[in-house]
């Protein structure tokens, strides 16, 4: 479950004020809004990447408003994947578990499991340079899921993909979030994409989040 209560966040020159919404456990929530409407700011605040002025953020029932990003149990998939240019796909999938001090055999098992689920086993020894947009997003998704987070936040993850890859990734997102039992918050400006992927649609209008 993701619950946002009376959240106020400041980003540069503008402020998102008094935002409240809830995405029940296991749901795939989609937050829509025009470019510059503050969708990414809200997502960053939930992930712990943006300081909150006031209000509360709950993840799986726990108040995480003042917790650091890494302690919130949230997997983050940025818009362009933001892959680590010097690391192989294998190292990407192993990154979170390694930071969390997992045993090397557990890390190996998890990497193989994720690579199979996401269809990237053949890419494990490749670096990001030269990967297609769809492959990059699969790697970013695997990296975010590696430490088994309860919540997944995706910032326009499909915006730079061609139509075929877009459809493939939508199917994959639905399957993976269901299989891995995560609650998702997906941001997009496309209502078509929102309808295809989400089961709870929200819209940000004039600084307020309303059901669509």
């Amino acid at each position: 479950m993701i619950k946002v209560e009376n959240l106020t966040v400041r980003a540069g020159g503008f402020q998102i004020e008094d935002v409240s919404f809830e995405i029940p456990s296991g749901s795939y929530g989609v937050l829509m809004g025009r470019t510059g409407s503050g969708k990414t700011t809200i997502l960053e605040a939930i992930c712990g990447l943006k300081q909150v002025v006031s209000g509360s953020i709950f993840v799986l029932g726990e108040d995480v408003t003042r917790k650091p990003a890494g302690a919130r149990g949230i997997g983050f998939v940025p818009q362009d994947g933001s892959l680590f240019s010097t690391k192989t796909v294998r190292k990407h999938l192993a990154f979170g578990p390694s930071v969390h001090g997992w045993k090397s055999e557990d890390i190996e098992t998890r990497v193989d499991e994720l690579a199979n689920d996401l269809g990237i086993s053949h890419l494990l020894d490749r670096k990001p340079h030269g990967l297609s947009g769809g492959e990059r997003q699969r790697v970013a998704l695997g990296r975010a899921l590696a430490v088994r987070p309860g919540v997944l936040c995706l910032d326009e993850p499909l915006s730079a993909l061609d139509e075929d890859t877009h459809s493939e990734l939508i199917a994959l997102l639905k399957k993976v979030t269901k299989d891995h039992e995560v609650t998702a918050l997906h941001i997009t400006h496309s209502s078509r994409e929102a309808e295809q992927v989400g089961d709870l649609l929200l819209r940000i209008e004039e600084g307020r989040v309303v059901p669509r």
Partner: protein, 279 residues
């Protein structure tokens, strides 16, 4: 890209200007090489390298440049990172100060160091006097060479590292934070590997810049044979005493060292970072 015939005058003008500068560099180096090959015999060459002060100068140059490059990188990485990632009051002013060693005349840097260490806060209780009491000598010593080189070379490294961090998206660090890293963890696990090419450029630039440094070294550390004489001061001393042959040979050696360092770093850099597979 398809180019039309109307593009040719534009491209020709651009290429001519670039070629003029390239030609000037090559002609300068060619003049050194020509003079060396026509005026210096094999036995003279051997004699120059057997001179004790030249041997000492070579070793001292290699040592001081290496120490300066390492110190410059150690200081430039955090400085460049802070300038790139954070906004703070007076940032423009700090940025301008960090560029001062680049724009200041080299002799002014040397004079400033000399005054800082020997007249500040007052003669008789200066930094140099305090350091001398604990057995450390800077002015007209090897430490003085390193400090004079560092004062200028580090500014170039800071600029390089700032540009490097500007080009690395903060998003990768943020992803690392969500994966459980703290700021230091994200910096060392993600940012430093991404910045590696910039770090090697900053180090190389500092090394070669330190080798070419002359003015501040002459003023602050002097050019004492077998003590504070580095290759750039050898060239100066040999010209001053009319030994143009030795000056030219040492100059050619500096050019060779600079080219070897630049090429070696680029080759190593490409080998370690450029592949599509593995880390």
């Amino acid at each position: 890209m398809v180019s039309s015939s109307s593009d040719r005058p534009f491209l020709a003008a651009m290429a001519s200007l670039a070629l003029m500068y390239l030609l000037l560099i090559l002609l300068m180096l060619g003049a050194d090489a020509w003079y060396g090959f026509t005026k210096v015999s094999g036995s003279q060459l051997l004699g120059i390298f057997q001179q004790e002060n030249v041997q000492h100068s070579i070793l001292l140059t290699l040592f001081t440049c290496t120490v300066t490059a390492i110190l410059s990188v150690i200081v430039a990485v955090p400085t460049g990172y802070l300038l790139s990632r954070y906004k703070f009051p007076g940032k423009l002013f700090v940025d301008a100060i960090l560029d001062m060693p680049i724009v200041l005349p080299p002799l002014v840097v040397g004079l400033s160091l000399l005054l800082l260490f020997n007249r500040f806060p007052s003669e008789g209780s200066s930094f140099e006097d305090l350091l001398n009491k604990i057995g450390i000598k800077v002015t007209f010593n090897v430490l003085g060479i390193i400090l004079a080189q560092f004062a200028v070379a580090c500014a170039f490294s800071v600029r390089t590292m700032r540009n490097t961090f500007d080009q690395i998206s903060p998003r990768t660090e943020q992803v690392a934070l969500t994966l459980g890293c703290n700021r230091a963890g994200a910096f060392f696990r993600v940012v430093i590997p991404e910045a590696w090419r910039g770090i090697s450029t900053a180090g190389t630039l500092a090394w070669t810049r330190a080798m070419g440094e002359f003015g501040p070294i002459l003023v602050f550390a002097g050019a004492i044979p077998r003590k504070t004489e580095v290759l750039s001061s050898t060239v100066y001393l040999e010209i001053a005493t009319g030994s143009l042959e030795t000056a030219v040979i040492v100059s050619l050696m500096m050019v060779t060292i600079a080219v070897v360092v630049l090429v070696a770093v680029r080759v190593w850099d490409r080998g370690s970072q450029g592949g599509l597979y593995h880390d």
